[in-house]
């Protein structure tokens, strides 16, 4: 399949998902190509008519050199010389690499800068950038690229894109915040799926401890009046549909079970905010300078130097999502611990099978230790990605940094650790249901089967680490693929019924 791009309204989160995760290609419509060509041509006239005014990157060079006025020809000549080594900006010594899907989303986001002519980019250059999506992405380091704007990372991503020699002047086609936008869009797609998976795991836990269902009653939607808590309640009630209502635990479950709709509600809020800012950013023209197309007042259009390359809405949204994984992880750890504690859960203590031999019996006991280190690391990483207090470079002109890379890499690592905690809780809940010979509510059974395909109930001593890691990886993979069977359908194990 191919995503057709006509104007900025085509830069949706869903199209970003198709390009980034499904590997789809893009195609500019004829109208879009013509519009780009017209804007490019008009911009040449604008430059000719505005030789004496400041047009960043056209009558000046960039960054600290902006104060020196140059003719457009001089600038072009100097830039051409600078770009002879096309990876001239690839300064970072390397390290952790940005993920392929994030880079594909970044390329997609870059095309929004071109499509309505706001960077006066020649359509051939636009096509050359779009063609990057037909092959594997180059390596782009996640570290060492934090700068005012995102120009250092762009050196890695676009270094090999052919320059169009005859293309004349362009307005900032290499500037903007496409990395923050693309990485956030990818992060948003995964965050929604991660949250949906987390709700499944927590509902398994609700069933495992036989929590009274009144704490999740739909009446709380109205009583609390919060849209996102309403979404959490709907999701939980959908998954708990048909759950046994009689003979459950006779008094309220510990607080960590009762607060689930509220804590999950905050997660729904955080994810929805990330989706919203990612989609807004995908459609936004963030280039410096930006080019406004001709109107009555400006017959050749006009440019404006601006700070669009600094995306200030996505990093806080990524931070909030990371923080929500920490809070959910904390609650999940409470669950995993309590499920193993018979006096609290009313389950067989430490989840030993009551029918097993007392000497040789085994269970998931001690697995609840595992999240402790994860959580400590998550709490450290999920701190906010604030503006830098430092003077970041010799040039006092470029005096503030874009925190997008930092916010993205922190959220990604926190999410990875969160998947590990979810795998632990899913395993504990599965074991609790196994040793009490119970099945969860019908909508959860296939998911439980998928969990057990990776981590079968513990009936005899075996090392659990590899199984739980496989489950954690399957959960992580599902955030990219949307396959909530956790790969079991692919392997033909999807029909395994829960006990």
């Amino acid at each position: 399949m191919t995503v057709r791009l006509n104007d900025r309204t085509d830069f949706t989160l869903d199209n970003a998902r198709r390009v980034a995760f499904e590997g789809e290609d893009v195609e500019f419509t004829r109208a879009a190509l013509d519009r780009m060509a017209r804007a490019h041509e008009t911009f040449q006239q604008y430059v000719d008519a505005s030789r004496d005014i400041f047009i960043y990157g056209v009558t000046s060079l960039g960054g600290p050199e902006a104060k020196t006025h140059r003719t457009p020809e001089e600038t072009m000549q100097l830039r051409r010389r600078m770009m002879r080594n096309r990876r001239t900006l690839a300064f970072s010594p390397g390290g952790e690499e940005l993920p392929e899907e994030g880079l594909r989303a970044t390329v997609f986001a870059t095309l929004a800068q071109f499509i309505e002519g706001n960077t006066a980019t020649h359509p051939r250059r636009a096509q050359a950038v779009a063609d990057l999506l037909k092959r594997p992405m180059p390596s782009v380091p996640a570290q060492g690229v934090t700068v005012a704007g995102e120009i250092l990372a762009m050196g890695f991503l676009y270094g090999e894109v052919p320059q169009i020699e005859e293309a004349g002047h362009q307005a900032g086609s290499g500037n903007g915040n496409q990395f923050t936008t693309g990485l956030s869009a990818g992060g948003a797609v995964q965050a929604r799926r991660r949250l949906e998976l987390a709700v499944r795991v927590f509902c398994l836990s609700v069933e495992a401890i036989d929590a009274p269902l009144e704490a999740y009653d739909p009446a709380f939607k109205k009583l609390w009046g919060d849209r996102f808590e309403g979404e959490a309640l709907d999701a939980m009630n959908g998954l708990l549909r048909g759950a046994r209502s009689a003979k459950r635990r006779e008094y309220q479950a510990p607080v960590s079970w009762r607060v689930l709709p509220r804590v999950l509600g905050q997660a729904y809020r955080a994810v929805a905010t990330l989706e919203e800012v990612a989609e807004t950013s995908l459609r936004s023209i963030s280039s410096n300078p930006g080019y406004s197309l001709p109107d009555r007042k400006h017959p050749f259009g006009h440019t404006f130097s601006n700070g669009g390359y600094h995306n200030a809405i996505c990093p806080p949204a990524l931070d909030s999502v990371a923080a929500t994984w920490v809070d959910l992880g904390e609650v999940a750890h409470r669950h995993a611990t309590k499920l193993h504690k018979g006096e609290v859960s009313h389950l067989p203590d430490r989840l030993f099978d009551p029918s097993a031999d007392e000497v040789t019996r085994t269970s998931t006991s001690y697995l609840e230790y595992v999240p402790n280190g994860f959580l400590e690391e998550m709490r450290l990483l999920a701190q906010p990605s604030l503006l830098s207090a430092a003077e970041p470079a010799a040039s006092e002109q470029d005096d503030q940094l874009a925190p997008g890379f930092l916010a993205f890499t922190k959220q990604r690592r926190v999410a990875e650790l969160f998947d590990g905690i979810m795998a632990v809780l899913a395993t504990a809940a599965s074991q609790a249901l196994y040793v009490t010979r119970r099945a969860p509510a019908a909508p959860l059974r296939l998911f439980l089967a998928a969990v057990r395909a990776h981590v079968p109930p513990v009936t005899e001593a075996r090392p659990l680490g590899a199984d739980v890691q496989a489950l954690a990886e399957a959960l992580g993979e599902a955030t990219s693929t949307g396959d909530f069977s956790l790969g079991t359908k692919r392997r033909g194990a999807g029909r395994v019924a829960a006990r």
Partner: protein, 474 residues
């Protein structure tokens, strides 16, 4: 004036402001009193229909004792018990926040969801008319809000009836009030920040194209659009010609983006405050009779844990921290002639001004650190604590740091106008004049003055304006 409440819809941010900041009292309206009375009767019928059913805190013990079923005699005997006698300590909450907690407390009562009598609700409301108890800010992190509410209950007479004790100390009125206290000031604080940053834009004579109204459409974000609109309104009438001929440093150009995120953060705090104030958060919550439930229902739940307030406060604190950072960069650059194109150090007149902000910026960064669900567990039943007091405490620090750093930037910008014999933008002349009444322009001859004290006065004026809404300092 008195705020009359009849239903949860009356628990608005505006009514909160009237009660908490404006000092107004609250009266329970006739409709509200009737709803409470009817609900109370229905609840007693529900209870009498089966004294062995599980109704948390009524037919059972509290907290860890939830598993203990009480006999009808025991139920009656403990009717008058409530959690009073707070064990927290530390500096007291601002009085307006305590008033806000009393107001928010009534939301769970007004439609009968807390099953208490209207007389008891009136007694709680009457706290607003006398001397309020002090609620310490530290040591208030536990499951729900029973610890801070115990301090509030010290001021109430002990004439409670069945099931009223726990209805006074359950729920999340503190979270609602604390996030609302920040919300009613946040938009004003941001308006002051926009004024000071516009003074700075004009001080360096930044090219106006970075604030071009077209950017609102090109960027497409409502928060940024609002920031751009406000900046342009405040910049109206400034000279278009003779400005700095090339782009200003990044910290000036990204202002609409950073202010836009601040608008977004303010909006989120306001949203969360609105829904929190109007929510019935008690455990158990009582749902009055319906066709499906002729006696109504008492539902055990986790409403006492407000999970939205702390993250919203954290996000706002981060925005205040970012604005502090930008203000610091502006001050530093305004003083550096080769960057600002202004006289070096404003002709050396500034002295130590512009050198004291770094500590406040760092403190704001610390205050912007995240407030997670605490790792400490409490006990095995009450195993998740609500951290809103921690987030609120950081909000007080972040706001004070921002007011301070903005006052400093206002003084440095003011000096730039004095040194270049220019005027502030027409819309801000009154604002600058008011700021100069606290801290007039400096000169080398006047170095014996103590600008620190003067800046503190300007900071206090900003803090006051955040509460009153007098953001133009008229």
């Amino acid at each position: 004036m008195t705020v009359v409440v009849n239903s949860r819809k009356d628990f608005t941010l505006d009514n909160f402001r009237r009660v908490a900041v404006g000092g107004e009292s609250v009266r329970i309206g006739r409709e509200g009193a009737t709803a409470m009375r009817e609900a109370r009767k229905a609840f007693v019928r529900l209870l009498d229909s089966d004294r062995t059913q599980f109704i948390y805190g009524v037919t059972t013990g509290w907290g860890m004792d939830a598993k203990v079923r009480l006999t009808p005699e025991q139920q009656r005997a403990r009717a008058r018990r409530s959690f009073r006698g707070g064990a927290a300590l530390g500096d007291p909450l601002p009085e307006r926040a305590v008033r806000g907690i009393v107001f928010a407390r009534l939301a769970s009562y007004i439609e009968g969801n807390a099953k208490i009598r209207p007389e008891t609700a009136r007694t709680v409301a009457s706290l607003l008319e006398g001397r309020l108890p002090q609620i310490p800010i530290d040591g208030q992190v536990w499951a729900g809000e029973i610890v801070p509410l115990a301090h509030l209950l010290e001021a109430l007479p002990n004439d409670l009836e069945l099931a009223e004790g726990e209805a006074l100390s359950n729920g999340s009125p503190c979270a609602a009030a604390l996030v609302a206290d920040v919300a009613v000031q946040a938009a004003n604080r941001l308006a002051i920040a926009e004024r000071v940053f516009v003074l700075s834009i004009e001080a360096i004579q930044a090219p106006l194209e970075a604030y071009d109204p077209d950017l609102a459409t090109l960027w497409g974000d409502p928060g940024e659009a609002r920031a751009i609109k406000n900046l342009n309104r405040l910049l109206a009438g400034v000279p278009k010609k003779g400005r700095r001929f090339y782009q200003a440093p990044v910290s000036w150009r990204i202002l609409p983006r950073i202010l836009g995120q601040a608008h977004r953060a303010v909006g989120q705090v306001e949203d969360v405050a609105r829904s929190s104030l109007a929510s019935a958060s008690d455990n158990p919550v009582y749902e009055p009779p319906s066709r499906a439930h002729p006696h109504g229902r008492a539902m055990s739940n986790g409403g006492y844990h407000n999970a939205a307030a702390s993250p919203a406060l954290d996000t706002l604190n981060a925005s205040w921290s970012d604005l502090c950072t930008l203000a610091d960069h502006h001050m530093t650059k305004l003083k550096r002639s080769h960057v600002s194109l202004l006289p070096e150090q404003m002709r050396q007149d500034l002295g130590m001004v512009g050198m004291a902000q770094i500590g406040f910026v760092e403190e704001a960064r610390r205050a912007a650190q995240r407030t997670f669900i605490p790792a400490a567990e409490g006990d095995t039943q009450n195993d998740v604590a609500e951290p809103v007091f921690l987030a609120y405490k950081k909000s007080l620090v972040a706001a004070e740091c921002l007011d301070t750093v903005l006052a400093m930037l206002a003084v440095v910008a003011s000096q730039a106008y004095a040194a270049t014999e220019r005027e502030a933008p027409p819309k801000l002349r009154g604002f600058l004049e008011a700021a100069r009444t606290h801290c007039p322009p400096l000169s080398r001859e006047g170095r014996r003055r103590s600008p620190g004290r003067e800046i503190a006065k300007l900071r206090d004026a900003f803090s006051e304006a955040a509460l009153t809404g007098n953001v133009d300092l008229v």
